[in-house]
Amino acid sequence: MGETVQPSWLSGSRTRLWSAARAARGLYRVLRANPLTFVGFLMVAFIAILAFLIVAVPFVTGLFGPPVSILPHDPNELLPCAIPTECATSPSAQYWFGTDNVGRDMFSRVLAALPLDLAIGFGVAGFALLVGTGLGLVAGFWDTPGTLGGALSIAIMRITDMFLAFPSLVLALAIAASLGRGTGPALIAIMITWWPFYVRLVRGEVLAVKHLPYVAAARAAGVSGIQILFRHVFRNILEPLVVYYTMDVGTVIVTFSTISFIGIGVPPTVPEWGGMVEAYEKLLLTAPWTVLAPGAAIFLTVLAFSLLGDGLRDILDPRSRRALVQTTTAPGLASKGAAEA
């Protein structure tokens, strides 16, 4: 596949325009071939805009006067009700997702949790992406035995293997619990355990790409190692990386909310989907909306990222793309030689 890619030192603005047009056409073909991917794309866009508005509207209006929230109620406000612990009312026109047992509006609580969960998903996965990609590029590119790079590469891979040899949630739980409880320790715990997946992915892709003829050609033309790494190798492993990142945002959200569900993540006053499911677990039979509303929120959010990422993966994997679309759409795919297990 690599032969179709022009060495980047040849590419001018015309080539770039051409490949952008080609990518856009490819995207259209892909969305037509797979409506679910398109649905996932729309859902992710909607969720991201919603989260942005929830944070930005109070902030911007706060600059000019009293902040206005787009949430109908304050998430921790106790709405008037007779018996303080039996205030759960079913969904109505006033309270779309009902209220919980102490009389808080579920719709506001679920929405209030969105920016936090989404930011953590993007942030932790982004951190892992940066760290893991850096280490993976080094470990894959300079792995000649006997050199300094080779020794470094071995060290990186041993540490990575150490983390990969263990169920990451259990390690994250152990670390989060012993660092003390709260949002910060939960975040640190996930960040510590998350980057190794990216190292493995990136290293595998680099190993698959770096012996392709176009890289050898660049080397023969006198391009320096660093330039080859970033211009020729890195660009061609971007696609699997983007796919993995997309799926991973959802996985991070699930993991973070699991830590909250267990009770060592966010404090009870902060609305968080996993924490809510835990808090209302006992109400599932009497007031099911209290569990189902945050449950549906996390389900739809993760589903959106999974639909988008899974669809992209199918599209970018040359073998299943050939079987599905029967045309080549995206240029320059790294051969998926690296075992995915």
């Binding site: 040899a165 949630l169 152990a174 012993s178 959802g250 699930v254």
Partner: protein, 341 residues
């Protein structure tokens, strides 16, 4: 690099040797994360109302007032002598506890893997056969939906919502507790079969269905995805076309000709899946009160039971490494093109 028995032995030997630093690193991280942040675990263990004498005895007994480095080296040297430390609740040695609880976890894992195979592989075949048409999308939506459901949410809904509706017991407390002398294997199903006790067998299966289903449904995608993509590779091949041209029925072509060749990767991925299922088993066992190692891990982590947490970390690492090794060897045995290296 070949396929002789010597090559296999070298392959296995290398992996075992590599495992030592991995284990060492995991122990170090978990040990220091715990001991650096909790200065006096005895205060937590004996509770807030204990007399100063009790606290002193506890400190004396577990030696938690020694320097952290001493405790660390002491733990390591004990570990290699088979002494995995003592559980602060009751002061029992950790290793026998883990070994007693492990069979119940294995039982749950195997049941979940069984459901994943029985449901996931046919779904993958259906999806591949429909490549790009609506059954494919439907299957994709189904398994991504499972993936987007956090384990705790699925387990809570199954345990509290669905269990009573179906009349299934929702806790691991078995209604007919057998004579301990008869718990030969500590696997409820195997034990009841060995005892020829049909009542206990029905009871055991009823207890197993929901936890296994919640583990399996959430991870169905792994089997389905793998089957689908390897089927997509096989379906356009000449021998499959020949089988179709011979007039064989769809069922015969798909399951007897195509699936056989695409199963290799699925089977091996399931082996590594068993390792990652351990993450979710912690949550699922806690929610269903399944008396296995996952629940013990959960309780240990939350109660600052360092010996228990470290014991589970060491044990899980061994399980994951063995599971990965078995699936790698299985892959090599099933696929004659693989060389051991």
């Amino acid at each position: 690099m070949g396929r002789s028995k010597v090559d296999l032995a070298i392959f296995v030997g290398k992996r075992v040797v590599w495992f030592v630093p991995v284990l060492f690193g995991l122990i170090t991280i978990t040990f220091f994360a715990g001991h650096a942040s909790v200065r006096n675990p005895c205060a937590v263990w004996v509770g807030p109302h204990a007399s100063p004498d009790t606290v002193r005895n506890c400190i004396e007994y577990f030696g938690v007032n020694r320097p952290v480095w001493d405790q660390y080296t002491g733990y390591l040297s004990n570990l290699f002598q088979g002494n995995w430390g003592k559980d602060p609740q009751g002061g029992q040695p950790v290793l026998p506890i883990i070994l007693t609880l492990f069979p119940a976890t294995i039982e749950l894992l195997l049941a979940a893997l069984f459901l994943m195979v029985v449901l996931g592989i046919p779904l993958g075949v259906i999806a591949a056969n429909a490549g790009g048409r609506w059954p494919d999308h439907l299957v994709r939506l189904f398994y991504l939906g499972g993936w987007a459901t956090p384990a705790y949410l699925g387990a809570v809904v199954l345990a509290i919502g669905l269990g009573p509706v179906l009349g299934l017991p929702n806790s691991g407390d078995f209604s007919s507790t057998p004579d301990p002398g008869w718990q030969l294997t500590h696997m409820s199903i195997l034990d009841s079969i060995l005892r020829l006790d049909t009542g206990a067998l029905v009871d055991a299966i009823a207890h197993l269905i929901l936890p296994a289903a919640s583990l399996a449904l959430l991870n169905l995608g792994i089997a389905t995805r793998m089957t689908r993509s390897s089927m997509l590779e096989v379906l356009p091949l000449d021998y499959v076309k020949t089988a179709r041209m011979k007039g064989l029925s769809d069922f015969w072509v798909l399951y007897k000709h195509a699936l056989r060749n695409s199963l290799i990767s699925t089977v091996t991925v399931l082996g590594t899946t068993a390792g990652s299922l351990l993450s979710w088993i912690v949550v699922v066992e806690e929610i269903f009160l399944w008396p296995g190692i996952g629940k013990y891990a959960f309780d240990s982590i939350l109660s600052y039971n360092f010996a228990g947490t470290l014991g589970v970390v060491v044990f899980f690492a061994i399980v994951v490494v063995v599971a990965n090794l078995v699936s790698d060897v299985l892959y090599g045995v099933l696929d004659p093109r693989v060389e051991w290296r």
